[in-house]
């Protein structure tokens, strides 16, 4: 590969924040486990921190190496195969997110537009962005991140008067088990833990990677927290579970003094920006990983094919909204995610540690 691009810690944080937070805005209700969601948020954050610590330990052992190189160090030739499966898995996961985005847009504002048209225009823009490279994505993320934060805070202020904290009672009515399960699902949706490991050497100051991770995820989870306070506080749990897109309904509900009304279109616009950063970053990571696995000199030619594959999967998925929901909650999906995001990094870390010890002794 050519010489590496560099992004600053702040851009790095913004990319993590946008990629993760935008998902929370879209899903919303899938994560609701009755009132306990509020505890679940903290629980899932601690799970993510655990996942992140494993990755950080790997990076600390082998600094200046990408995740793919690390996996080659750990597993030898098998490492490339594992990474290839990783890429396929990423494509699948991000197609699901992409389908979710499309579903929101086509349900909420453009029901008569064919979904293929939505995905074509989106993918054209995404492919263009991804070919421009990581530095550009980072710079755009800086702008978009601020816009997203402003939009969420302003929605919070608009609905603040309607929030009823009584809606969060009674806490822990159904015992801890469903909550732990829900927390795991939310935490496992955090593909960015691995994504960042792949581009870790790009960070201008590699020692700050842990700080970047924590700030990035913490801000995303603060956003989740605000969203959940808003949707449950305003609608109440019983009603939130009846809504397809609770946060969108909340934005529709938000009004002030009878003149700030119908702001949902603005919200959708902002939210498309965030989705754009997320998918662009994901496609970039996939193309980059593929190029590295096959030792190609350039990753750019791979971007368009990956985009087209995602579009095709999206067309299959988005044809039925119920499918997207059942996919994101199926136990196969959860098991696969645990395998890729917890078990493989853990094995990798152990092997690398053992190898180091053995080498030292020799």
């Amino acid at each position: 590969m050519e010489e590496r691009e560099q992004i600053s810690l702040r851009q790095f944080i913004y990319i993590i924040f946008i990629s993760r937070a935008i998902l929370g805005i879209a899903y919303g209700n899938v994560e609701v486990e009755k009132q306990d969601i509020i505890v679940e948020v903290f629980l899932s954050f601690s799970f993510v921190v655990l996942m992140m610590e494993v990755i950080c330990a790997i990076i600390r052992e082998l600094p200046n190496k990408t995740y793919i190189e690390c996996s080659r160090v750990a597993f030898g030739k098998l490492g490339s195969v594992i990474c290839l499966i990783y890429v396929i898995y990423f494509i699948y996961k991000d197609s699901v997110s992409f389908a979710m985005f499309n579903a929101l847009i086509s349900t909420a504002i453009l029901p008569e537009t064919p979904t293929i048209f939505l995905s074509i225009t989106f993918i054209i823009a995404v492919v263009y962005g991804a070919t421009k490279g990581l530095e550009t994505i980072g710079r755009v993320a800086e702008i978009v991140g601020v816009i997203i934060i402003i939009s969420i805070v302003s929605i919070f202020l608009l609905v603040y008067k309607d929030i009823d904290m009584e809606n969060f009672l009674p806490l822990l009515e159904r015992g801890p088990m469903p909550m732990i399960k829900g927390g795991t699902v939310v935490a496992l949706r955090t593909l960015e833990v691995i994504f960042i490991a792949i581009i870790a050497p790009y960070l201008s100051d590699i020692n700050k990677i842990r700080k970047g991770y924590i700030i990035g995820f913490a801000t995303s989870w603060v956003v989740f927290f605000i969203i959940i306070i808003c949707i449950i506080g305003v609608f109440g749990v019983n009603q939130v579970v009846t809504k397809t897109f609770p946060y969108y309904s909340l934005v529709k509900f938000a009004n002030a003094f009878n003149f700030v009304e119908r702001i949902q279109a603005v919200h959708i616009g902002i939210w498309v920006l965030g989705a754009y950063i997320k998918i662009t970053f994901a496609i970039y990571i996939m193309a980059y990983s593929l190029a590295e696995i096959f030792s190609l000199r350039e990753y750019k030619p791979l971007i368009l094919p990956i985009g087209l594959i995602m579009m095709a999967i999206n067309e299959l998925l988005v044809s039925r909204y119920v499918d997207i929901r059942s996919i994101t909650l199926s136990s196969i999906d959860i098991a696969g995610t645990i395998f890729f995001q917890v078990i493989i990094p853990l094995i990798m870390l152990i092997i690398i540690k053992i190898k180091k010890c053995v080498l030292k002794k020799i």
Partner: protein, 386 residues
């Protein structure tokens, strides 16, 4: 060579921009103002056993133009029937030359016949459709809803707007509830499904005005509350913003004093007595002396304190009345006592919830009303000179 490359680049850019601009025109959901019929109000009635009848009020396109002093109607009504709300809604395109546009709908009026069968099935469409808004106000009418939608209001040219404003401004009387579709689905999806929706009727002079309040058990109409009872309900919910309470003048019992309520604060708590839940309502009312009929000078500490007590008694009676009515006649928990027990004592609720209807009848409610007359207005005495 360089020149050719630049030229190719420019041509490519030009082509791309043309393609993009063409494709963006193809925004399928584009609506021009001249192709939509803006709905202001919807009335839903039962027309036969299967069919429902939809009466929609839309703004007349010509009335958007500035024509001063024209006495033409600014709205037209369209009627259509169908087996479901959406069916009837789409069937109205047989009559309307423009596509109906729901986003600016202000009110939905439902006829009593339909309300007795259940309203959630007809309201689902308005909540599910992407053009629908949760802020639509709901009303029930004892007459046919189409009569309401076709009626008129003396002050406003657009009737739906008049009904909307009626519900918003009448909150100063403290005797009318306001219910949006979001509120309805919140109450309907609660632990104990119920709803309270204000009524509208055609008044004596043909103008539309507000009526009693309809009470729903689950989503079926079970009874009506008159204005006093509605206020009793609002006291228990802490939603009285302003109202007039009439009491008898101390020592001159046949004459009335009007007290204007300035604010109300309500606190609820739950205590367990002998393993049974007891609800405690604490209500604090601040009011101002608004009017007195007698000539007596009431600006004395003992009189004011007496009037405060009388006001508390009046409010307490109103609350007791409505609680007894809902226990005996309506048999529905419209106060949210059940959900309150669920929130505070989840384990106890698990036992109670299956036969809450019976438990509610035996539920003990302690009411404590404290009132304070904080102002007396610009006048001290009616007559003076004594």
């Amino acid at each position: 060579m360089k020149g050719i490359k630049l030229c190719i680049k420019k041509v490519l850019l030009f082509c791309i921009s043309i393609i993009f601009s063409i494709s963006y025109i193809g925004c399928w959901n584009r609506r021009e103002l001249s192709t939509v019929a803006i709905i202001q109000g919807v009335g839903i009635d039962k027309s036969s056993d299967i069919d429902i009848k939809l009466t929609t009020q839309i703004i007349r396109p010509e009335s958007m133009k500035k024509t001063q002093g024209s006495k033409e109607k600014h709205v037209v009504t369209i009627k259509s029937t169908g087996e479901s709300s959406f069916d009837a809604f789409r069937n109205s395109t047989f009559i309307s030359d423009r596509k109906l546009f729901l986003s600016h709908n202000k009110v939905i009026v439902i006829g009593e016949d339909l309300a007795k069968q259940g309203v959630s099935s007809v309201l689902d469409f308005f909540a599910r459709d992407h053009e629908g808004s949760g802020n639509v106000l709901l009303f029930i009418s004892k007459e046919k809803a189409e009569d309401i939608i076709e009626g008129h209001h003396d002050q406003e040219t657009i009737l739906a707007k008049a009904i909307e404003n009626l519900a918003k401004t009448t909150s100063v009387s403290g005797k009318v509830v306001k219910e949006t579709m979001d509120d309805f689905f919140k109450q309907y999806s609660g632990d104990i499904p119920y709803a309270i929706i204000p009524g509208v009727k055609v008044g004596e002079n043909g103008s539309i005005n507000l009526d009693e309040t309809a009470v729903f058990k689950s989503d079926k109409l079970v009874g009506w509350l008159d204005h006093k009872e509605t206020r009793g309900l609002l006291w228990t919910l802490g939603k009285v913003k302003s109202t007039i309470v009439l009491i008898n003048t101390p020592q001159e019992e046949n004459k009335k004093v009007s007290l204007e309520v300035l604010s109300e604060k309500m606190e609820r708590s739950l205590t367990i007595v002998d393993g049974k839940p007891v609800v405690n309502l604490k209500i604090n009312v601040k009011s101002s002396l608004g009017e007195q009929v007698s000539d007596k000078n009431l600006i004395h500490k003992e009189y004011i304190e007496d009037m405060e007590k009388r006001q508390s008694v009046v409010i307490k009676e109103e609350i007791e009345n409505i609680i007894n009515k809902s226990k005996r006649e309506l048999n529905v928990d419209i106060f949210g006592f059940g959900p309150m027990i669920h929130k505070r004592k989840p384990k106890m609720w698990a036992v109670l919830k299956d036969n809450w209807d019976d438990e509610f009848k035996n539920l003990k409610v302690n009411i404590e009303v404290k009132s304070k007359i904080v102002r007396v207005g610009l006048k001290l005495d009616t007559k003076g000179g004594r």
